[in-house]
């Protein structure tokens, strides 16, 4: 009976020790250090910067970028929090917040490019419409101007011809 109990106790001790080792080692294996956190923040900075550039281009083209700006704003908040965590030495937290920032702006370039293309198309349509309108207006002005001039010339000549010369002393 006794060797069995001893065996069981040995197994239990082994299990506890190995569990403690796992608990101690695993977080250290997956821990994020300052270099990694800095790298993640640097990447987030670059992602946010390039997202801003494409949104800016879409905005300059006349697109409504309100939704994209909200996304940029929330990504910016994540980045601020990532810096706070980095300064506090919470590298894991800083890294995940930076990743959250990068994730928030993922796909923004495609959306901005689509909005930009739509805005440019709408702009060229508008330009075409106004240029067409102006062209039609100019033709009308030319036609009416020509007839108007003829009418004016005739009216003026008639007015001059209808004038009766007044002789002095006839009053």
């Amino acid at each position: 009976m006794e060797p069995k109990t001893k065996n069981c106790r040995g197994v239990a001790v082994c299990l506890i020790v190995s569990m403690l080792l796992v608990v101690w080692f695993v977080p250290r294996c997956f821990a994020v250090d300052a270099v990694e956190a800095n790298g993640a923040i640097g990447q987030a900075e670059r992602d946010l910067g390039s997202a801003y550039v494409v949104v800016g281009e879409a905005e300059s083209a006349g697109a409504n970028v309100s939704v994209l700006l909200n996304r940029l704003g929330s990504a910016g908040d994540f980045l601020s929090e990532a810096y706070v965590a980095l300064r506090a030495g919470e590298y894991g937290n800083a890294s995940s917040l930076a990743a959250e920032c990068s994730h928030s702006v993922a796909g923004i370039a495609g959306d901005a490019a689509r909005l930009k293309a739509d805005a440019e198309r709408a702009r060229s349509d508008r330009l075409l419409f106004t240029a067409g309108g102006s062209g039609v207006g100019l033709v009308l002005l030319l036609v009416f101007g020509f007839f108007g001039w003829r009418f004016l010339k005739r009216w003026y000549s008639r007015r001059v011809l209808d004038m009766k010369p007044e002789m002095e002393g006839t009053r």
Partner: protein
Amino acid sequence: MNFENVKLVYVFSCVALCLVILSPTLASVVTFPEGEKFSELWVLGPNRMAEGYPFNVSAGEVYKVYLGVGNHMGDLGYYRVYVKFRNQSEPLPNSTAGVPSSLEPVFEYNVFLRNNETWERELSFSFEGVSFEGNVSRVSKVLVDGYAVDVDKIAVWDETNNVFYYQLFFELWIYNATVSGFQFHDRWVGFWLNMSRQL
């Protein structure tokens, strides 16, 4: 009115009408000169007025101010406002030379603004780990919007004004797409604080 004058009036009327008809097309093709490009940075007191800024502060109390940024640069702007904390002897930014303060920020705000848009938000701050020893006071932690940052600043008693001077100030930086980074935008604001013992 003689015939030559009538002709002149008619030609001028036609030219004016022509310009009116062409104006929508010209407006979308011709770019007009823009006004002055600038950005704004301001800080307001707790009542959203340029008065009543916190001055006598102590540990554990929460103080609030309003921080604002305005964009008049002509297009979408990406701003960063660095919140910095200093004692009387530490460097301030130099707007004339375009040099920011070399101090590490305690917090930063990332702001995206369209042209002629403004951003304003409430900023709360407090202090932790404040101690006094003789003519020296020490601040270990500053909390901005609830985020704690270790600062470990020491201020020496100012005998002339009977205060322990500290300053909370804000620097405006702007993203430059050409260099893919932020540049100091030559603007900063701040206010003085007197660290006092808790009553």
